[in-house]
Symmetry: C2
Subunit: 218 residues, 2 copies
């Protein structure tokens, strides 16, 4: 089965310039033998450094992307076009054949390479992830965006799987708050699959499972 | 809905005595300000050190338990009795109200405390995880063990949810190989929910989703 997915406003970025001299940032970078601006922003390391960053409640959670990719890229039957839209509006294309590192620290190292060099692997071979020069509007010009949000109209995950329009499912990959106004305006439909707030990986888990149920649990 | 789950032969242990003097183990422990024997065995750090360990193909993957607990303990509707049986046959009781740390390094720190002190939190408050003095047989004396294995009889996840016997679902939490003979003998039934090998978290995701589907996707 084919499902196109875009993770939206994903908390995935290198440490921004404003805080590269913060002691917590410098210490972590030094320990890992990297320059501060080549390390990923991570609230579990940079909580104090992030205090004055704009929109900080949406930032510094690469673990959300990690969990989401682990679910999306290990399903044996669900394939499709996968994108990550970051909180800084970068569009990353994800090769559906990619197998993300299970280990978080290895994932972090890989994302640091991706954001520094623009693609992984750096030296040739099949590209697994790539920072494109597309805008969100470019990506959405090819699909109808179905946004999943607590505030949307209730729908079952199976109905999403059965929809045969040219869809891309938009799932928030940030820890708190709502989608930006811009994204809400780009959505063709806004749906909710649960009355409870669900985590990014849970949303993907429920949709992929529902699609697998329709396929007779292959 | 109520579901009892036991993660079986989970790759969760402190670095064993045989390798506490290995340079990779010492280096990681020193960097984290801990004694080698108080750090968790992790193949991403200890690959070379683990080469001669018995059953090494089943060991050093605490990330599997982390992923599994994140799925089990964030579902808004599925509750039950949750246990972890480790590859060294320790039985850990998991409080269903626990919210595991999302960040892997924080989870590692917490598991190191659990295995060193026998419970978390260490200093009073509601116990979230506890190393019991139970044997696997003690736990299974109260339930019928349904083992999920690629080699089992095909069943749909919904059928598992609908079963109203006094079940505990046994799910392997090790990276490679099959269950030990001992565990296979303890199983009342051995079922498979997919023709593909699934990862631990995927198995839980499919079962929890199927149970939520039966409940009308609350």
């Amino acid at each position: 089965m084919n499902l196109n997915i875009i993770l939206l406003e994903a908390s995935l970025e290198l440490v921004p310039k404003e805080i590269i001299n913060h002691p917590a940032v410098v210490k972590n970078a030094k320990r890992r033998g990297k320059k501060p601006e080549e390390t990923l922003l991570d609230i579990s390391l940079h909580y104090h450094a992030m205090k004055n960053l704009k929109d900080n409640y949406k930032r510094g959670r690469p673990d959300i992307v990690h969990q989401a990719l682990l679910v999306m890229l290990t399903d044996p039957t669900i394939k499709g076009n996968f994108f990550i839209h970051t909180v800084q509006s970068k569009i990353i294309r994800v090769n559906p054949n990619m197998r993300p590192p299970k280990n978080y620290m290895r994932f972090i190292g890989l994302m640091e390479q991706l954001l520094k060099y623009g693609k992984i692997p750096i030296n040739g071979g099949e590209t697994l992830m790539e920072v494109t020069n597309l805008t969100l509007e470019d990506v959405l010009s090819k699909y109808n965006l179905i946004l999943l949000s607590e505030k949307g109209e209730k729908i079952s995950p199976e109905e999403i799987c059965r929809s045969n329009e040219n869809l891309i499912i938009g799932i928030g990959a940030f820890p708190h708050g709502d989608f930006s106004e811009k994204i809400l305006k780009l959505a063709k439909k806004i749906y909710s699959i649960s009355k409870f707030p669900l985590e990014t990986q849970q949303v993907i888990c429920r949709i992929f499972s529902a699609c697998n149920a329709i396929l007779g649990w292959p």
